[in-house]
Amino acid sequence: MPSVTEKFGKYICDITPENPDRSRKLLLAAYRAYGVKLKLFPDKKLPRARQFAARYVNNVVSRMLAHPKEAALVSVFMPCELINALDIIPMCAELYSCFINGAQSEAVFAQRAQEEGIAETFCSYHKILLGTAYSGVLKPPSMVVNTSLVCDANNLTFRELADYYDIPQYYIDVPADRSRDAVSYVADQFRGLKIFLEDNTGKSLSKERLKENIARSNDTIKYFKKCFNEKKSHYVTNDVTSELYEIYMTHNALGTKEAYRYAKELYANLKAAGSKKGIRLLWLHTMPNWQEPVRKLLDANDRCQIVSCDMNFESLFDMDPEKPYESMAHRLVYSRWNGGDVRIEFAVKAAKALDIDGVVCFCHWGCKQTMGLSAAFKSQLEDEGFPTLILNGDGVDRANASDGQVSTRLNAFLEMLEGGSRE
C-alpha cells in the first residue's frame, strides 16, 4: 500500500501543472506539520544536537517557502556570513530540492524542467529547483547570490533563475588555482557583495556586526574541528538525513547562533558518547537519504554508520574577524573541493584521521565533479588500505536510481568489510 507521503507526493504531482499555488500551500503546510512533529516527537535515538538541526533546517525551509521575498537564493557552497548578518534567509538551492524529494513530489518538477529543454542528465538538485520555478510553485526570492564553486550547475541554474524571475544576481567567481592572488581576487568580490546586498535591501551592514558574525563563524568552525577529532574514537548515533542537515550547518548557516549552538552541542554529545563501534564509513559527496535500502543499512544502526561526509569538513578553516572578506575568500579558494587532486588527498587524510573502515564514493546523477574523480578516488584510497565502493545513484530523484541495485552493492560492500574487519 502506498504510504501517506507517497499519496501526498502523487497528489502534488497531479495538481501542480494546473494549480501551483495550491501545491505551494500544501507543501508549506506539510513542512510546518513536520516541524510540529519534530518538536513534539523528536527522534530520541538521535543526540540532542541532531534533533535540533532537524528542527532548525525544517524551519529554514518553511520560512524560505513562506517568505521568498525575505530570502536570497544561494548555492550550498556560498559563504553566507554577509547574508545572515543582514537577516536575509539563505535559500539553499540543494536543501530546497531535498525537501521536495522528502515530500515525494520531485517527479513533476524534474519533468517540468525537462519540458523547457533542460537536459535529463543535468544535476537533479538543480533540475528540481528549476522545475519548481518554471511551474510557479517557487515564488521569486529577492535576489540570487552564488559562487562558481564547485560545479557547472552553479554557472547555469542561478543565472537562469535570475533571468527568469528578473531579479538581481551576484556571482562570486572562484579560480581553480589555490593562491594568494586568487584569495585577493575573491575577497574583492566579497567587498562588492556587501555593496550589492546593501543596495538591494536598503539596509546597512556595520563593521561591528560583520565582525561579530565572522567571530561566531570562527567559534563554530573550531567546534566542528573538535567534533571531527572526537568522531575518531566515539560513536554517536547518526542517520543519513542528519549528515545532510550538517552540510547546511557547516556552510550556509555559518555565522548564525543556531549553527554555533549545533556545533557546540554536537561536540558535547560526542564527548559524552561511548566508544566507537560497527563499521565506520567515510561518505564522499551527497547522500540519497530517500532511499530505503540506504536508510535501512545506515540509519541509527550499530552495525554500520557514516562517520562523516566529506562535504562537512571541506572548508573548516580559521576565520579572522579583522579580515572578514579574506577569511571568506580563503574558505572558497582553499576548499578541499577546489581541485581534484586536493580533494582526493584530503579524503585519504580524513580516512586515516577518522579511523575509517571503508569509503563510499557516491556518484550523484549528472555530477561530473565527483564521478570524474571516482576512479582516482578508488585507486588512491585503496592504495592506502581503504576499500572504496563507487556507488551510482541520485540524491533527490527517484527516477535515476534503483533500490535493488543500490541495496545489492551496499550490502555486498558491508559484507566485504565485515569479512576483512580491521577490528
Binding site: A107, E115, I118, F122, N155, A176, K368, G372, A376, G404
Partner: protein, 559 residues
C-alpha cells in the same frame, strides 16, 4: 616537443606560438570509449571521453586544457593520474570579463609563461607575442568576408556544444547548406581594443582582455551570449549527453527567436552521429523553401506506393490517382530493411490486385528509407507522418507518434506542413520498445497488455523511465503481489508523461492525432488524453500513417 594540443578557443594560442609551438586543436571522433570508460566514469560527457581516447590513441605528450567546465577539470585529473605526458596544463579562466577579471587572467597568463619557459628552456620573447597577436589567430569563418561569401543561399548556424568537423560535415552533406560553427569551441576571435596592440608593459593585460572578450562567448561565461543568428535559415543546437550547458542555450533559443531551431544530441562517435540523420533531414525539409508543386501536375502517375521501413514493422500503402487506398500491408521488418520492404510492397500490391509494373512512383520513409533501394526518393518519417495525418484528419495540428524505436511530436500548420518537431533522445524510454520489454517482463502479449491496463484499481507510480530501472521496479512490484493491471497502468502513465513532456516542449496545440503502433494501446492513449486535457483522434490507419504520407508524396510527383 614542437607540437602542442588544445581544446578550447580561450587557449592562449598567441603565447604558444610565440614560443615556437605548432598548435593543433583536438577534434576527436572515436569509435568507442573503451579507454575513457575504464579510467574515468561512463557518465562523463562524450566530448570529455573522446578527448581522453584521442590523447591515448595518438599518444599525445603536450596538452593545454582550459578550466572550461567540470569535465575539462576531470580530464585533467584523469590524464594526470594516468601519467606519461611531458606537459599537461590546466589554465584557470575567469567566468566574468570586468577589469578585475582581466587582471586575474593577466596573472594566470604570466604563470603560464613561466611554466612554458621551464618546459621549453626558452626565454619568453614579448616581441614575438606581439607578432602573434597581430596575426590574429582565428578559425571557423570568423572572418566577416568568409562568412559573408556564403550568405547568399542562406546558412545553418550550428550552436551549442562542440560538434567538430564530423558533425559539420554531416549537416552540410545532408542539407547541402553551408554551416557556420558557433558552438562552444567554434569561432575564435581575439581582437584588441581599437585593433591596437599595446607595447609592454601593458600587452599581457590587453591580451587577457582580448581573450576574455571574444565575440562568441561560450555558455560558461557569466556575461550574455550574443543574440541568436537571425540571418540563419535554421539553428541546430547540439548537445552532448551529460553536458550541462547547452540545454539552457536551447531553452533560450526556442523562446527568443523565430528562426527554426533543432536540438540534436550526440556523443561524438560516428555511430551516434549516424542516428541524427532523420532529425537533420526532417529539419532540412522543414527549412528549405517550399516548392509549389501542384499535385500530380503531369497527370502521369496512376498508381503510387509508400513504404515505411521502421525498426519493428515495415508498412506499405498502394494508392490510386484519386488518393484511394487500394492496398496495404504491415509486416515485421525482420533482419534486413530491404527484404522487409520488398515483402511489404508485394503484400500491399497483392492486396490492391496490382503488380510492380503498375506502380509509377514510390517514396520510402522510416529508418531504413535510404537502404531499401525501391525508390529514387526518400522523405523522413516526420514529413510523412505529418502528411499522412493531415490527409486522415485535416483538423490535426499536432501529431503524436510513438513507434518502436522512437517517439516524436510534430506541429502542423493548416496545410499539413511541418512547423516544428521534437523527438526523444536515443534511449528506449517512452517508446514502443519500452512497452514491449515491460510486456515481456509481465509475460503478456502487447494486445493483452493494452486490454489489462484499462482495468486498474490502484494508481501506482513507476519512478524511472530507464528500461533497466523500470524493469527492476516492475519485478519488485510483481514480488509485492501488485496486480498486473495496476503495474501496466503505472507504465502507461510513465510513457504518457514522457510524451506529454515532448509535446509541452513544442508548445503543442489541439487537435491531436496519434499514429504509430502504440496508438493501438488504449491505456496509453487514455493517460495521454488525461494529461493533455484533450481528446486524441486515432485514425483507423494509425499504424500506416507514415507509409500513407510517403504514398501521398509519391502521388505528388516527388517520388
Amino acid at each position: 616537443m614542437n607540437k602542442i594540443y588544445y581544446m578550447c578557443k580561450y587557449t592562449p594560442l598567441e603565447i604558444l606560438e610565440s614560443f615556437g609551438f605548432d598548435t593543433e586543436r583536438l577534434d576527436p571522433a572515436p569509435q568507442n570509449f573503451d579507454c575513457a570508460d575504464s579510467c574515468a566514469h561512463p557518465n562523463l560527457c562524450g566530448y570529455g571521453k573522446a578527448v581522453i581516447e584521442e590523447v591515448n590513441s595518438k599518444d599525445i605528450k603536450a596538452l593545454v586544457l582550459i578550466d572550461c567546465c567540470d569535465v575539462c577539470r576531470r580530464i585533467y585529473d584523469v590524464l594526470k593520474e594516468r601519467g606519461g605526458m611531458d606537459f599537461l596544463y590546466l589554465m584557470p579562466l575567469p567566468h566574468k570579463n570586468g577589469p578585475g577579471d582581466a587582471k586575474m587572467l593577466e596573472g594566470v597568463l604570466k604563470e603560464f609563461v613561466t611554466e612554458l619557459r621551464e618546459y621549453t628552456g626558452e626565454e619568453f620573447d614579448k616581441a614575438k607575442l606581439k607578432e602573434s597577436c597581430a596575426a590574429q589567430i582565428s578559425y571557423d569563418g570568423e572572418d566577416a568576408d568568409d562568412r559573408a561569401g556564403q550568405q547568399e543561399g542562406g546558412h545553418i548556424s550550428l550552436t551549442g556544444a562542440h560538434g567538430g568537423a564530423l558533425l559539420k560535415e554531416i549537416i552540410k552533406s545532408r542539407t547541402d547548406i553551408p554551416v557556420f560553427d558557433n558552438t562552444c569551441t567554434g569561432l575564435r576571435q581575439v581582437h584588441f581594443e581599437g585593433d591596437e596592440i599595446p607595447e609592454n608593459p601593458h600587452i599581457m593585460y590587453e591580451y587577457a582582455k582580448a581573450l576574455l572578450n571574444q565575440k562568441n562567448p561560450c555558455m560558461r561565461m557569466q556575461f550574455k551570449k550574443g543574440a541568436p543568428d537571425e540571418n540563419a535559415l535554421g539553428i541546430i543546437c547540439h548537445t552532448v549527453k551529460f553536458c550541462d550547458y547547452y540545454g539552457f542555450e536551447y531553452r533560450h533559443l526556442k523562446n527568443e527567436t523565430n528562426v527554426p531551431v533543432l536540438k540534436i544530441e550526440t556523443d561524438l562517435t560516428p555511430s551516434s552521429s549516424g542516428q541524427i540523420y532523420t532529425r537533420i533531414d526532417a529539419f532540412a525539409e522543414a527549412i528549405s523553401p517550399k516548392t509549389d508543386i501542384k499535385e500530380n501536375e503531369m497527370g502521369n502517375i496512376k498508381y503510387a506506393a509508400g513504404i515505411d521501413s521502421g525498426s519493428s514493422s515495415t508498412d506499405a500503402v498502394v494508392m490510386d490517382a484519386d488518393k484511394n487506398i487500394l492496398g496495404k500491408a504491415i509486416l515485421p521488418t525482420g533482419a534486413g530493411a530491404a527484404s522487409g520492404a520488398d515483402k511489404a510492397l508485394e503484400a500491399a500490391l497483392k492486396d490492391a490486385g496490382l503488380s510492380r509494373d503498375d506502380i509509377d512512383a514510390v517514396v520510402t520513409t522510416g529508418y531504413g528509407r535510404e537502404t531499401i533501394g525501391l525508390s529514387d526518393k526518400s522523405v523522413t518519417e516526420i514529413s510523412c507522418h505529418a502528411k499522412g495525418a493531415h490527409f486522415l484528419y485535416p483538423k490535426a495540428r499536432t501529431v503524436i507518434d510513438i513507434g518502436g524505436q522512437d517517439s516524436k511530436v510534430i506541429s502542423l500548420d493548416e496545410d499539413g506542413n511541418v512547423e516544428n518537431f521534437v523527438m526523444n533522445d536515443k534511449c528506449a524510454a517512452g517508446t514502443g520498445r519500452f512497452l514491449e520489454m515491460m510486456a515481456r517482463t509481465l509475460n503478456l502479449s502487447l494486445p493483452e497488455m493494452s486490454r489489462m491496463g484499462l482495468a486498474w484499481e490502484n494508481d501506482i507510480t513507476i519512478s524511472s523511465m530507464c528500461t533497466v530501472f523500470a524493469e527492476s521496479e516492475v519485478v519488485s512490484l510483481i514480488a509485492d503481489n501488485t496486480s498486473s493491471a495496476d503495474i501496466i497502468h503505472g507504465l502507461n502513465e510513465a510513457v504518457a508523461s514522457k510524451t506529454v513532456s515532448l509535446a509541452r516542449r513544442l508548445k503543442a496545440k489541439p487537435s491531436y492525432v496519434m499514429t504509430g503502433g502504440v496508438a493501438q494501446n488504449r491505456g496509453v492513449v487514455k493517460s495521454l488524453e488525461e494529461k493533455l486535457g484533450e481528446d486524441i483522434y486515432i485514425p483507423g490507419e494509425a499504424q500506416l500513417c507514415g507509409a500513407l504520407g510517403a504514398a501521398l508524396y509519391a502521388m505528388e510527383g516527388r517520388g
